[in-house]
Point group: C2
Chain length 352, copies 2
Amino acid sequence: MFDNKEKTNIEALGEFGLINHLTKNIELVQKSTIKGVGDDAAVLDFEGKRMLVSTDMLLEGIHFDLAYTPLKHLGYKAIQVNLSDIYAMNGTPTQVTVAIGMSSKFPIEAVEEIYEGIYIACEKYGVDLIGGDTSSSKQGLVLSVTSIGYADAEDVVYRNGAQEGDLICVSGDLGGAYVGLQLLEREKLIYLENPNIQPDLEGKDYIVERQLKPEARKDVIDLLKEIDVKPTAMIDISDGLASEIMHICKQSSKGCSIYEEKIPLDPMTFETAREFNLDPTVCALSGGEDYELLFTVKQADYEKIKFKMDISIIGHITEPASGCNLITKSGNVHPLKAQGWNAFPNSESADK
Amino acid sequence: MFDNKEKTNIEALGEFGLINHLTKNIELVQKSTIKGVGDDAAVLDFEGKRMLVSTDMLLEGIHFDLAYTPLKHLGYKAIQVNLSDIYAMNGTPTQVTVAIGMSSKFPIEAVEEIYEGIYIACEKYGVDLIGGDTSSSKQGLVLSVTSIGYADAEDVVYRNGAQEGDLICVSGDLGGAYVGLQLLEREKLIYLENPNIQPDLEGKDYIVERQLKPEARKDVIDLLKEIDVKPTAMIDISDGLASEIMHICKQSSKGCSIYEEKIPLDPMTFETAREFNLDPTVCALSGGEDYELLFTVKQADYEKIKFKMDISIIGHITEPASGCNLITKSGNVHPLKAQGWNAFPNSESADK
């Protein structure tokens, strides 16, 4: 019988601590495994092309709330967050597998809606759904997606290539998905108190969509190829800007300076954050789920990138000794903290 | 807000009906996708080698019960059931990704035990764990594994290649995993009624292990290569012999005759089934989770295969019009029914 002698709760480690703890002793044995755990996607060498593989699991009550998540959007988002990992390697996604667990009482129309969203996302990005698993769940809805893609060996961009002096760039704008979530949570509470009151999301389409229907930034990868800029390091923003740039700096053994005034914020994100008495910069740094691309480029590429509409240069890579810092609008220097979205929400993570 | 207007429950479809329903309109667009949904693993063409991908999800309360499943065994089994799918394509597994969802109250030692089982399985089969996802779950333990492997294009064995007259072969013995499960369920009930009574699994190691610690049949794939036999069709037995041979027959547009007296049963499976007033043949046909390989070979290969210890010839492929039949020991002919292990346990599946 299962002996439930508890010792250390996962809470004490946090997600990254746990992953690190569980994977630190892996020894890779296959010649075709170029990169395993530790980046956005695994890299496999299949005869010239690098194959890219990434897996993400979405759990009801942790990653989504069916009270305000349309099922079609959920399916769409499950694919997008996985494709985003392949783009973050500078690759081209080509296939996905989807494993889904749900109550056997779930109406078929609901499952269809999820798959409709999955198929729309696949079609839009030219990706094949190539397999998966469908099972009953006694415990709510679970979606696990594995995405597969490829890149020429010389095109793959890892997290560990940032060099001192490199410019730190980010696509789109940040914080919107998090502020959108606050809005949805508020309307849910109002609805639960009085179901006759319709949700008031009037004029908030943009940030609600940032939360419910993110888009993987294929266009940014295409743009970078077009202007012949290969990032030195890249990651997608799922846990917030602070957490992600710290991943790049840690794996590149470097520090960084991020300028608060350069962090791209949509006006609606800014205003709505204020309505919630939230600091818009903190929403961008720690909110997560924006699925924008964060990447570093050589200074020599500055001219190529400086006027690109959808790319902001927000700082630069420094020597490791100076650490990872935010330069505030008032000129103060604050060490960045990776208090991003946490897959173990109750946890006291070590870096908090 | 999510409008929960129910129409059709998943129950009415059953797992295969649901998968078929959800995937029937897929249009593959990638040149590299040779085979998507509909076999044990997807097949991708990456420059000469066929890459194989398969995903399976294990959910607490559906696929396993922590009351009697040691966590190390659970991790081991999660890998084995996925490798089994790659072998069932006549491939060589090379990588796996593991996504895991668990309560944040779960003790770290418990997670370590799961991963210990995962790593033991990976090491034993020379497979790299190359990525995954770890998240909190509000709803019990969830494991989703994606396995990746390869085969030369001409070596891949699908489900649809069986020809009239081909011999139907199965490795190992059947029904043990199901009977082992009955034993564990009984001991659990006894334990719940009186926790002072220790489980009585004395002398039942083999069938308990068949349930808790299955082995993917790499050795059978190696043997077939060694004796230069390429199956015409192959599948692994996860849902029971009846369900699996019907998959082969349906996809090959053929019928079959299976001889009850030829179905391999371990004496312990036979005896224990009798103790539970179960028909041992039904356990083999419908029990599932044996993870043996079921395959068809040309009659010309009979001499090569007839004396192989661990392979039983249990029947032959017939014309489609005669259907899928079991010839009983007394010579009666019964149409096979795919009432295998069902991922939607409450469902009335169409073929029952």
